[in-house]
């Protein structure tokens, strides 16, 4: 399988504090990769390197090699806005704009100039809602405010919004931690569908979720990558004792 991301010796500092220390990790295309580990282990920091979301944090310094399709993510020639259109992101708390459902999805395609006509924009919105598994629930109320939807629906709005700009990668930072189990299951089913078209990297605190949804799992601890491999192997018979201790609930 082709690598979407190749990273080598990545080090991230927040001021003088080291957040991730010498991480080398390749992420396969059209696959779901989970990043797991206790709070503060560096998994979200690593995720945010992949679309330069750390740029906005004061004192954050990233070094090492980070390539997306063999192109340097941190190159001066690369516009972070273009990067983030290619590498979309869904956050822990559903954060739809206080606008209509339609406008939430149309916003990205509009600013990136992806639609030449109103009809085309309309198609993009409907297709994105369809791919996010939401269309049947909102078809008749596209002009209603997105903030009036349930948490699970709002999160799928955010996924539809990410899809609408035609990304290649979707990064997810604990996308289900604010959702109930049913809404979580709906998102997990959706992830499975989406992985056919997108490369997905998901940070999750739920080890059971990582086990359920991902093909590959990376275990981070204290800023280091402890183990990376097939999800099945990581959760049944990991190589490293620290991984075993974490997944069986023996280190916090």
């Amino acid at each position: 399988m082709r690598n979407k991301f190749e990273t080598e010796n990545v080090v991230v500092h927040y001021g003088t504090k080291i957040a991730i220390d010498d991480i080398s990790l390749n992420i396969e295309s059209n696959n779901i990769t989970s990043l797991i580990g206790p709070s503060g282990c560096g998994k979200s920091t690593f995720l945010r390197c992949l679309n330069r979301m750390n740029d906005t944090i004061d004192g954050c310094a990233v070094s090492g090699k980070l390539l997306l399709d063999n192109e340097d993510i941190y190159s001066d020639n690369l516009d972070p806005v273009d990067l983030r259109a290619k590498v979309g992101m869904v956050f822990q708390k559903p954060n739809p704009f206080p606008k209509s459902i339609f406008e939430n999805i149309a916003y990205g395609p509009k600013i990136h100039g992806l639609a030449k006509s109103k009809a085309e924009l309309n198609d993009i919105v409907l297709e994105s809602l369809e791919r996010a598994g939401l269309i049947d629930e909102v078809r008749d109320r596209l002009d209603d405010s997105a903030t009036g939807l349930s948490g699970g629906q709002q999160q799928r709005i955010c996924i539809a919004r990410a899809i609408a700009v035609n990304p290649e990668v979707i990064l997810m930072d604990e996308p289900c931690s604010a959702l109930d189990p049913i809404a979580t299951a709906v998102i997990e089913e959706l992830l499975d569908q989406l992985s056919k078209d997108f490369t997905i990297v998901i940070v999750t605190h739920s080890m059971a979720q990582a086990a359920r949804v991902s093909n590959k799992t990376a275990f981070f601890h204290l800023g280091k990558l402890v183990e990376f491999g097939e999800t099945q192997k990581i959760f049944t018979n990991p190589e490293e004792e620290r991984t075993q201790n974490y997944i069986t609930g023996r280190i916090g």
């Binding site: 080890m207 059971a208 086990a211 049944t236 201790n245 997944i247 069986t248 609930g249 023996r250 280190i251």
Partner: protein, 223 residues
């Protein structure tokens, strides 16, 4: 596992399963000894109490299965912990089968109530029984300590049990040819030896399961 779980009750549940397995194993070993002694002494009075103990063994198997099911449903164990819970049900099943063989041995005592069992073969059966009990002791030790080397020794020892079984078969066939009127007694002795031979196989399975708990590797699949 050496390191403690963050949730104390998790370890307590695993310990409980382990202790139940060890208690069941001890009872089964006691049962094999009692059945062997009753057989050698042709003690018919013991048969009913041996059958009653077998029911107790069956009850323990059920209880271990329930505990393992609850552990998996309520605590979602992973990796080594999951194998401990899953293999507990397999090991308990093997122990239950061992109990069945002891019961079967006990029931055969009735067949010898009016004929003196053949001395030479009885000595061999007693040796087999001793071997089986020592294999069981070692398998339980290997389980308790999660010791794969000990488990490997148990698997090797089974060859001795098989050898004695073959020997008994040959002796019995020879005797049958000499004294065809005693055929039934000797067939019973062959079947009796087979009980212990099968018991050895069940203990080998336990040893394999100990190996699988520790390493994740299923020896039966690769052999």
């Amino acid at each position: 596992m050496e390191k403690e779980h963050i949730v104390g009750a998790f370890d307590a549940d695993l310990d409980r399963i382990e202790n139940e397995i060890l208690a069941m194993g001890k009872l089964v070993r006691k049962q094999i000894r009692a059945a062997t002694n009753a057989l050698i002494e042709v003690n018919l009075e013991e048969v009913d109490s041996l059958i009653a103990t077998d029911r107790e063994i069956n009850g323990m198997n059920k209880r271990i299965n329930t505990l393992a099911e609850q552990m998996i449903a309520m605590r979602q164990p992973m990796a080594l912990d999951l194998r401990l819970a899953l293999m507990a049900t397999s090991i308990a099943t093997e122990l239950e089968r061992l109990g069945d063989h002891a019961k079967s041995t006990a029931k055969r005592i009735r067949k010898f109530s009016d004929v003196a069992p053949e001395k030479k073969i009885m000595v061999l059966i007693e040796t087999m029984s001793e071997l089986v009990m020592s294999m069981l002791t070692d398998a339980l030790k290997a389980y308790k300590k999660k010791d794969i080397d000990k488990a490997a020794e148990v698997r090797v020892k089974d060859a001795d049990v098989d050898d004695i079984n073959d020997k008994i078969y040959k002796v019995a066939i020879k005797e049958i040819k000499k004294n065809p009127e005693d055929i039934e007694t000797f067939i019973q002795l062959i079947l009796l030896a087979r009980n212990f031979e099968r018991a050895g196989d069940h203990i080998v399975n336990i040893a394999r399961q100990v190996h699988q708990i520790v390493t994740g590797e299923d020896l039966k699949a690769s052999s």
